[in-house]
């Protein structure tokens, strides 16, 4: 199996030598184990191959895969919680993330899920996932704000 760069995407030549274009990489455990188990999906949603360990790939292949993943992925990591305000049908969170400042609305307590080890994933009303890498590493003010909701 080999990965090739294709204008804005990824191509794959499978073990039988057949070339597949428009390959979509999908992390199977995006939240609990992002570095393992990446499925490569071809047209029609069929799984063509599955990478068990990304870090074990050849550097150049790995870079291709990670670039393709990065293009598809958007999971901001929350660094600070600036404010959580009550709003109609939920709460508006004002946060500072690794991708800049943002505000989003969450609808229910169930939108905040613990992944264990202090990791939290927050799914906003539009389906965007925000990650808190470790609650105990947040600053005091952010923790206090978070505590009221989680």
């Amino acid at each position: 199996m080999r990965l090739l760069a294709q204008d804005s995407g990824l191509s794959l030549i499978d073990d039988a030598g057949v070339r597949h274009d428009h390959v979509r990489p999908v992390r199977l455990f995006p939240l609990t184990d992002a570095q393992h188990w990446v499925a490569l999906i071809g047209d029609g949603g069929r799984e063509l191959a599955c990478v068990e360990d990304v870090s074990a790939m050849e550097p150049e292949q790995r870079a291709l895969l990670e670039a393709a993943l990065a293009r598809r992925e958007f999971v901001p990591i929350i660094r600070r919680i600036l404010k959580i305000a009550r709003a109609a049908g939920g709460h508006i969170w004002h946060v500072e993330t690794d991708r800049g400042k943002s505000a989003f609305r969450i609808e229910a307590d169930e939108s905040i899920q613990s992944l264990g080890g202090g990791r939290l994933v927050i799914i906003d009303s539009l389906g965007t996932r925000y990650l808190v890498a470790n609650v105990s590493e947040l600053d005091r003010e952010s923790r206090r704000r978070l505590e009221r909701y989680y």
Binding site: L28, F29, D33, E47, E52
Partner: protein, 729 residues
């Protein structure tokens, strides 16, 4: 207790019947009846002996039991008739008429056995066997719950924390004592400093005043510190005890049999574990320590008061007996009220636990208003019970207050008289008033303790009620740990009855390891029951199930169930990620294994399409997934445990052909190399089964492969025909 008196009556009757036996005559079987012909409760006994049928019943008028007998030759037949909640036993005499007995249907089983004995005995007039097992049934001690008052049991339950509790107690005593220093200092302050200061300002040095201020401040700080420590320690104890209690209750609950859960309402159990333990926590942490403080303060104060001025003390404590009497009166009433309130909250929770999961049905039938009404009715019930309690309560507390004021009034009056007659000084009176104030404040909070203690007692009772239920399927001592099973299952004349209904009536079947059996039959034929028996959710009533040649009852349940894979009609997904749900039976399975199981179950493709793939959360009832998807996750779950015996309860509802194909492909993987018992509805499953077992009314009607049975044109052919008509209209 009506039950004990009935058995006492029966014991008398048995004894009496024995005195009427003739020489050489032996008892074969006994049957207790508990109704008379007019269906009024009335104890009776029918005895089958080697030669006769005896009947003794308690007499209403004369006191001596009434006796009747028939020679076995005079009896033509004994027949049993089910008549709803009761049963009738008819004795047909040779030639002349009938005789009837009636009993509640709880005795139906015994009556059936009695008739069976009678038939045996009639066949072999001479040979006799004393009915030992009947004796055993009677001799079995009733499961007596460990009795004891709930609060006493609560104290015993807290045993691991006795040292901590002792510390809490010591701190409480100390802080209470520290609280009493201030009034004592006040006496001296008034008499030795303030009054002399007023009369002759020069006679007292100002430093004396400062000295008292420092002492008073010190006393306050000491009381504050000790109180802080006491409350801290007590809250810790309380949290630990209640957490222990919650866990113990839940652990115990998990060990109880399915039949217990079938009987109980979910909401009520939730409220027992959730809010009843909370009441107890509150009681231990807040009220119990308060109470200890109160009692100590009252004792200390009384001692101090008497040591200062006995007559004044007598006057001050005058209303105390009245309070004691009032507390006693109110106590029982409150307890009943709180128990009722607790039950009402349980009932309310039951409504919630019922309607929230069933919300789709509620909406589909537009019954929101009716559910609102149902909730309102239950809420009204809570409201009413609390209202009743509050009515008593609202009278009780102010009354205590009034008594406090009366007490103070008496102290002022008697004190004024004493000062006028120079028996006592102003300072002593001031101290007295301070002490009496404290005393009655304590009395007031003690009265509050009455309420909370009764509430906690009611809650503790509800929790111990759960803890006292014996696990239905206790692991037998020295049970066999089978490890990995080969998967041979044999039913030998298995019988099962639920209540009065016999559901499985003597079923024998041998399933070879790796064989796939399809259970077919109309609903109510006993298929699900049979599966429940294989899972050992229930024990057989008669006969036995052998697994790998061993009686199932002699095998450790947990170890046995590790060999089972279960795919249910309505797959239940827990709140958690898809990966967690697949790995439910083997929480430590590697990710590679989870993916492999999902692939084999044809679930991998749709899981990949979910936003978080295997990390996607599925709700309580897995709302976001379709029925077919949930089915495949539950197949993956079963695959992952790699069971020796697979139990498959196929959904009756038809799914679309594509999903059907996916599920069938998934099942192909699943059944390979395992003993499979499937309740089969789908044609694919029916064809794939090595043998189909057609059940009807709890017995096997016919067995064979799909094609054989079709050719035979029996029950299966008819069922199949009907199914075809439904599927292809």
């Amino acid at each position: 207790m009506p039950h004990t008196s009935t058995s006492a009556i029966h014991a008398d009757l048995i004894h009496y019947a024995e005195t009427r036996l003739e020489v050489g005559e032996r008892v074969v079987a006994r049957l207790m009846t508990d109704l008379d012909v007019d269906l009024r409760f009335h104890g009776g006994l029918i005895v089958l002996t080697t030669t006769r049928l005896l009947h003794v019943e308690e007499s209403r008028a004369t006191g001596a039991p009434q006796f009747r007998c028939w020679g076995l030759m005079e009896v033509q037949d004994l027949t049993l008739e089910e008549t709803g909640a009761t049963a009738a036993l008819h004795l047909v005499q040779v030639g002349a008429g009938e005789w009837h007995w009636r009993m509640t249907s709880g005795r139906l089983r015994e009556a059936e056995q009695f008739i069976a004995r009678y038939r045996e005995q009639r066949g072999q007039t001479a040979v006799s066997s004393v009915a030992e097992d009947e004796e055993e049934v009677e001799a079995r001690p009733s499961v007596s719950s460990p009795v004891g008052k709930p609060l006493v049991r609560l104290v015993r339950f807290s045993k691991p924390w006795y040292p901590l509790m002792a510390l809490a107690f010591v701190l409480t005593i100390a802080s209470t004592a520290a609280g009493l220093i201030a009034p004592w200092l006040t006496i001296s302050l008034v008499d030795d400093v303030l009054v002399p200061l007023q009369n002759a300002p020069q006679s007292v040095h100002v430093s004396r005043v400062y000295q008292f201020m420092v002492w008073l401040a010190g006393a306050a700080v000491l009381a504050w510190l000790l109180k802080w420590a006491a409350i801290y320690v007590v809250s810790r104890v309380a949290e630990r005890v209640t957490s222990h209690m919650r866990r113990a209750t839940y652990e115990h609950l998990q060990k109880l049999s399915l039949s217990y859960f079938n009987k109980k309402r979910t909401g009520d159990l939730i409220s027992r574990i959730g809010s009843d333990t909370d009441d107890i926590s509150l009681f231990i942490s807040v009220n119990f320590i308060d109470f200890a403080c109160d009692v100590l303060t009252i004792i200390f104060t009384a001692v101090i008061l008497f040591s200062i001025n006995p007559p004044l003390a007598c006057a001050a404590l005058g209303p105390l007996p009245v309070v004691a009497w009032l507390v006693q009166r109110v106590r029982g009433y409150l307890r009943g009220g709180f128990a009722a309130a607790s039950r009402a909250v349980g009932a309310l929770n039951s409504v919630l636990a019922d309607t929230i999961p069933g919300v789709r049905v509620v909406k589909a039938f537009a019954q929101e208003q009716r559910e609102i009404e149902r909730f309102r009715a239950h809420d009204q019930h809570i409201f009413d019970t609390n209202d009743r309690v509050n009515r008593t309560w609202s009278f009780f507390e102010p009354t205590i207050c009034l008594l406090t004021d009366v007490g103070l009034l008496v102290v002022w009056a008697v004190g004024a008289w004493c000062i006028a007659h120079e028996h006592t000084k102003v300072g002593v009176l001031t101290g007295f008033v301070l002490y009496v104030g404290r005393f009655y404040v304590r009395l007031d909070s003690m009265s509050r303790f009455v309420a909370s203690a009764q509430r906690a007692a009611a809650s503790a009772h509800r929790i111990f009620e759960v803890l006292d239920v014996p696990p239905d399927m206790p692991t037998a001592e020295g049970a066999h740990m089978p490890g990995r099973l080969r998967g041979e299952v044999e039913f030998r004349d298995v019988r099962f009855h639920h209540g009065q209904r016999e559901i499985i009536r003597g079923l024998s079947l041998k399933i070879a390891p790796g064989e796939m059996i399809g259970l077919v039959g109309a609903s109510g034929a006993g298929k699900t029951t049979l599966i429940n028996l294989v899972c050992r959710f229930f024990d057989v009533s008669g006969g036995a199930i052998f697994v790998d040649g061993r009686d199932l009852r002699a095998i450790d349940v947990t170890d046995y169930r590790r060999n089972l894979g279960l795919v249910l009609q309505e797959p239940y997904l827990f709140f958690g990620t898809i990966a967690e749900n697949i790995a439910y039976g083997r929480p430590h399975a590697a990710r590679a294994e989870i993916i492999a199981a999902a692939r084999a179950a044809r679930a991998h493709d749709f899981i990949m399409r979910l936003p978080d793939a295997y990390d996607s959360m599925v709700g309580e009832r897995g709302q976001q997934l379709s029925g077919g998807e949930r089915q495949r996750i539950s197949i993956a779950r079963a695959l992952l445990v790699d069971p020796a015996i697979l139990i498959l309860d196929e959904a009756t509802s038809a799914v679309d052909t594509e999903t059907e194909r996916e599920i069938q492909a998934a099942l192909d993987h699943l059944v390979k190399g395992r003993t499979t018992i499937a309740i089969a509805h789908r044609l694919g499953t029916l064809r794939r089964a090595n043998r189909l077992v057609v059940m009807e009314n709890g017995v096997i009607e016919e067995t064979g492969t799909h094609d054989e049975l079709l050719q035979r044109g029996g029950a299966y052919a008819r069922l199949h025909q009907a199914m075809q008509e439904v599927n292809q209209p």
